[in-house]
């Protein structure tokens, strides 16, 4: 398998505090990789550097061998990287389907069209995407009335709209019921197999992580302390240390 993402010595400092301390890793094509770690470990900061929301203090990011370090989010998106956020940022004044249509409009470079009804554009594609995440029946509801779990599903549909090759999901199942978590990640896993997409995700629910991740990385206080398959990570003494003597790794760590 070839690598799609390569990260070299990536670091971010806030003043004297180093939130991410020079981490290196790769994501290979078609794999689902998890980035786990306690609260404040630097996972979201790392994601934000990969997709351009935050400019790294040092280090490099390569997508398919091309340097994307410090590019604005919209450029990285156009290169085929999708993204969901820990705190969802959907458009509150639009309906569910309009949120997806917006992504499709941007993907088709129609943002600057002054004429024509946006509501009529790419409806079939948008409905297909919503159907895929099980949200088709809620297509016409205003986004502002959605339940939290449904918002997460909508975010996934939006992130898939431009057929990304790499998808970054920051805590995709946070705040959902356990059964819904498994279902959502199963759905993501299916998409990965069908479309050959690669996924990097952070997650606090270890059941989800061990059920779906091909590889797992553990971040602690900005340092990458493990990178390997489930068995390797479980056996890593440093990781066991971080997760309170290992017990926690097999329980659910609730995080809302």
């Amino acid at each position: 398998m070839t690598e799609i993402l390569r990260v070299e010595n990536l670091a971010k400092s806030y003043g004297t505090f180093e939130a991410v301390k020079g981490i290196s890793f790769t994501v290979r094509e078609g794999e689902m990789k998890a980035l786990i770690g306690p609260n404040g470990a630097g996972k979201s900061t790392c994601f934000n550097m990969l997709t351009g929301q935050i400019r790294p203090t040092r280090g490099e990011v390569f997508l398919d061998g091309a340097r994307i370090t410090g590019l604005p989010p919209r450029v990285i998106w156009r290169r085929g990287v999708g993204r969901t956020f820990q705190i969802t940022g959907t458009y509150q004044s639009m309906t569910v389907i309009e949120n997806v249509q917006m992504a499709l409009i941007s993907h088709n470079r129609r943002v600057f069209s002054l004429f024509g009804r946006a509501r009529a554009l790419y409806r079939t594609e948008a409905l297909a995407l919503l159907d895929r995440v099980g949200m088709a029946d809620q297509a016409e509801r205003p986004c502002s009335v959605l339940a939290y779990g449904d918002l997460k599903k909508l975010e996934l549909a939006i992130a898939l709209a431009h057929r990304p090759r790499l998808l970054l999901m920051d805590e995709p199942t946070a705040g959902m019921a356990p059964s819904a978590r498994i279902a959502l990640m199963q759905l993501t896993a299916d998409i990965v197999t069908e479309e050959g997409l690669s996924v990097l995700f952070t997650e606090h629910d270890m059941d989800v992580v061990f059920a779906h991740a091909h590889h797992i990385m553990v971040l602690n206080r900005g340092e990458l302390i493990a990178d390997g398959n489930a068995a390797e990570v479980r056996a890593n003494p440093q990781v066991q240390d971080v997760y309170l003597g290992g017990g926690m790794l097999f329980k659910e760590i609730d995080h809302a």
């Binding site: 989010p73 919209r74 458009y91 004044s93 639009m94 992504a103 409009i105 943002v111 002054l114 004429f115």
Partner: protein, 623 residues
């Protein structure tokens, strides 16, 4: 040499009052994140209260204690007035979007204006001289008023005293904590409400002291509040909002610059100030000592916005019916009614263009009149100097205004929230002062006259039809854009800029284009205006004109295009009646404040809600 030093000293003396007022504004902004447009009103109040006290106190306390005691007391009284305003008007709306706060403080301006008129009358009042400081010092042979020297000596102490207050006292610790981190104040267990009230009172007191201190050099009049807004905002923007040393440096810079401007470039003093501001902002977008600021996380006011829908069949029929009635009106009505209707259509177009950028774009522009007046002037200049026929000159209105918006937008779009609002206001003042002072071209406040439409359009009825067609087309165009992909992208950037950027939308560029479009449409309205009246004066570019549009949009409802139109119609209709009243500003100000606090969704929003309750309008969620 002597002349140079004299100029410098005069500039430094003028800086004293300006710094006092600006530091108050800066302090209030730093802690409460409210841009208090009424700050100039507290300055004016300080001047009037000062004069009154200076008339009374010296008789009781003797000339020296009387004069300086009056100044000190003035600040305390104005501070009290500030506290009152904060408690009554601002407290209920701290969590509302910025626009609501800005509009509310504008309501306060109107109220204070009329109260001052009631109490002190319309006559300008001369300030009394300071006792014992009547003469001049000769410095290098140049006469410098003694009072100026005293002011120059006082200013550093004021800065020092403020600095000590902020650095050494418990209040100061809280103020700094609040300025840097809003959440921290709550965490400290401080009663945030009273901190805000205290700071607002202190800031207003500073404005009051500024107004009283300048009395021996000037006086008090009813235009002081608006006249100081320009320099005041320039100083705060240049210095960096929330920074006291920044305000000091900028106040000195602007005052000195002004004095030298008067001496060497008497025609361009006002312009100069804004040019300096523009240069500073190119280099440092947040001012000399200001810190970069992420736009405030302001909540929604009222119900969450519902997804937009084009009108249904019934709505369309209603609009078509209304237009039909408007088209047939000339057959039955008097000419004066048509003149009024023409004004309403023009104003509605202007308001709709503002609503577009403000509601759909989420960009609170406080200088929209620059494009309305700019368009009017563009057309009028073509007619005056190039003898262009009306049909062509008219096209220059939207074109010229659109180009102006491209220039101003280039500076402003980089900022957001209140910074954007301040900057648009400052630039509109730049345009105004340019028109006002460049007499050779614009004829200053004599205005450009004899700008009449071509023969086929002259007369009330033909021009009414022309306005109706152009106005309706303009509004329809805006409506089309709002429902087009571009309008959706604009709304996306407003709802969540991060999400929009993360789906390939260049939010700033979308906003830039929208700003230019709104400017062009405002210019179109300005073009209609100038040929309707046959003349244009700098008043069409004034802050007041921008505020008119804002208030209209606000009263109508920020959230839908129809809000601007309904608001404009409502306003134009009641204005005629309202302005005949003696204290109409007071009424209007109170109305604005009441709407902000009680019915933040405006006429359209409230009507819609009423309709929902009565079952006349369908709920989006229900179908």
């Amino acid at each position: 040499m002597g002349f140079f030093i004299a100029q410098l000293l005069t500039g430094l003396a003028n800086a004293a009052a300006l710094f006092l007022v600006a530091s108050g504004l800066s302090l209030i902004f730093g802690v409460t994140r409210i841009v208090n447009f009424a700050h100039g009103s507290f300055y004016m109040l300080g001047a009037y209260v000062g004069i009154t006290l200076m008339g009374v106190l010296p008789g009781v306390l003797g000339p020296y204690l009387g004069f300086w005691g009056a100044i000190v007391l003035t600040g305390l009284i104005v501070g009290l007035a500030g506290a009152l305003v904060e408690i009554v008007v601002l407290r209920p709306i701290y969590r509302a979007p910025e626009l609501f706060q800005l509009v509310a403080t504008f309501g306060v301006i109107l109220v204070i204006q009329d109260l001052a008129l009631m109490v002190w009358g319309a006559e300008d009042q001369m300030g009394p001289r300071a006792p014992g400081l009547r003469g001049v010092f000769r410095i290098f042979g140049e006469p410098i008023p003694k009072y100026d020297i005293v002011l120059i000596c006082i200013t550093p102490f004021i800065l020092l005293a403020l600095w000590a207050l902020i650095a050494k006292t418990r209040l100061g610790v809280l103020v700094r904590a609040a300025t840097q981190d809003r959440e921290m104040v709550a965490a400290l267990g401080v009663n945030q409400r009273w901190l805000f009230t205290g700071v607002f009172a202190l800031g207003s007191a500073l404005a009051g002291w500024g107004g009283a201190l300048q009395l021996p050099k000037g006086g008090a009049d009813l235009l002081m509040d608006f006249n100081i807004i320009g320099p005041l905002f320039v100083v705060t923007v240049i210095g960096g909002m929330g920074s006291l040393p920044g305000a000091f440096i900028a106040a000195v810079l602007i005052s000195v610059l002004n004095v030298f401007g008067v001496a060497y470039l008497p025609q361009s003093t006002l312009v100069l100030m804004f040019v300096v501001m523009a240069i500073v902002l190119i280099v440092r977008p947040y001012g000399l000592l200001g810190k970069e600021e992420v736009a405030g996380e302001h909540g929604q006011s009222g119900a969450p916005e519902t997804p937009i829908r084009p009108f249904g069949r019934r709505g369309r029929l209603a609009v078509a019916g209304l237009l039909l009635v408007m088209a047939l009106l000339p057959l039955v009505t008097q000419p004066f009614a048509l003149v009024l209707l023409t004004d309403i259509v023009i104003f509605a177009l202007f308001a709709a263009s503002l609503q577009f950028i403000l509601g759909t774009g989420g960009l609170v522009s406080f200088g929209h009149a620059a494009f309305y007046g700019g368009g009017a002037y563009a057309a009028a200049l073509m007619v005056t100097y190039a003898k262009t026929p009306m049909e062509i000159a008219f096209l220059f209105a939207p074109l010229g205004a659109g180009m102006l918006a491209l220039v101003i937008g280039w500076f402003c779009i980089r900022l957001s929230g209140v910074y954007f609002a301040m900057l648009t206001l400052a630039f509109s003042q730049l345009v105004w002062s340019l028109v006002f002072q460049w007499r050779a071209v614009t004829r200053g406040d004599d205005g450009l006259i004899d700008i009449w439409p071509s023969a086929w359009l002259s007369g009330t009825v033909p021009y009414y039809y022309f306005t109706l067609v152009v106005g309706v087309l303009g509004i329809l165009f805006l409506r089309t854009v709002i429902h087009a992909p571009f309008g959706y992208a604009l709304r996306a950037g407003r709802d969540s800029a991060r999400q929009a950027e993360a789906m390939g939308i260049d939010v700033k560029r979308v906003q830039y284009v929208a700003f230019a479009l709104a400017g062009a449409l405002a210019g179109l309205a300005g073009g209609l205006f100038v040929f309707a009246k046959g003349s244009v004066f700098p008043t069409e570019l004034e802050i007041g004109k921008s505020f008119d549009a804002l208030i209209v949009v606000f009263l109508g409802g920020v959230k839908t295009l129809s809000g601007g139109i309904v608001g404009a119609t409502f306003m134009a209709a009641v204005e005629d009646w309202l302005t005949r009243l003696h204290y109409w500003r007071l009424l209007l100000g109170l109305l604005i404040i009441a709407v902000v606090i009680l019915a933040p969704e405006g006429i359209v929003g409230s009507a819609r809600r009423l309709g929902l309750r009565l079952g006349l309008v369908k709920h989006t969620e229900a179908d």
